[in-house]
Symmetry: C2
Subunit: 153 residues, 2 copies
DNA sequence: CTAATCAGGACTGTTTAGGTCCGTTATCGG
DNA sequence: CCGATAACGGACCTAAACAGTCCTGATTAG
């Protein structure tokens, strides 16, 4: 239902945590910091490392550190690292799941929607999320997000 | 993985179909028009009728017709009608699923993201989607869609 | 060499969505 | 008034995805 996985939530928490710690931290350390079972955190960090969002150091005294500053990491990247490419339906550009593209009346119709979401998610950085903690309704300090009208009906 | 349900896809197809037919149509009729099993279409139409997106007429010669023109129906409304409120995580404003809000370091952080997505989806109408069929990359002819910049990073 | 730590995969229990079917209610035409 | 048509509302079953765990191997510091 247009919901992202819980692992993505953990990933953001872990990254924000790494951003505030400013150094190398082990996965058990991160796990206890964000109150998530260790094996699960390890799994998430592995995925993040695969996309370069975090950099790992093996061996004793190893651990993870950020690949780039929080401000340069978009939410969309985290989602993609954990959940795979953003594709609202299976008929969207990237994913070639819909075989009967000729007969399917929906072919290509979700693409603009998909792009809009991708754009929205790319305009929000983890630094924005880290700052969004307490104050109830905030406006993003960095970039516009111009489209917010909520003129739904 | 940030994917919306297949039923939502059917819903859009059915609505677009109803928009082109310009009259009352039965659920079996719609089902065959969009090549989806009839009971499933019926289920979708029921949900849409509940939100007023379509209007139903019972009895012989009954069926469904649009509640408003396609142009005035936002994609977000369809998604909400089928999948329920848009809540990326269970910790988001509307859904009060996260009990430990005091200790949870993610409390409130997804709200701006959620709002950004909602805004993006509210700016695209079904008329836009109906028009987005064939030409590969189109710009929406009717209304702004201002938020779409795709300026990813 | 040994301890610490990441890497990668396999496995399993639970949840959720997709889809189907039933009986009921309402309306129209004859 | 009666029967056919069609939406309504709910219960139900199946299958796939997800969350979470564990195990074995590879790498590095002391």
């Amino acid at each position: 239902m247009l919901k992202l996985s819980r692992l993505t939530d953990y990933a953001v928490a872990a990254l924000v945590r790494l951003g505030s710690a400013e150094g190398v931290e082990t996965s058990p350390g991160i796990a206890s910091a964000i109150s998530v079972p260790e094996p699960t955190v390890a799994k998430v960090l592995k995925a993040l490392a695969g996309q370069g969002l975090v950099v790992s150091t093996r061996g004793a005294h190893g651990g993870y550190r950020l690949g780039r500053p929080l401000r340069e990491i978009a939410v969309s990247e985290v989602i993609i690292a954990i959940d795979g490419p953003i594709a609202l339906t299976s008929c969207v550009e990237g994913a070639g799941g819909c075989e009967s593209q000729s007969s399917c009346p929906m072919a290509g119709r979700w693409d603009p929607v998909n792009r809009a979401i991708l754009a929205a998610l790319s305009n929000i950085s983890l630094a924005d999320m880290a700052a969004a903690a307490l104050p109830a309704a905030i406006r993003l300090p960095t970039e516009p997000l111009h489209g917010i009208a909520a003129d739904a009906r």
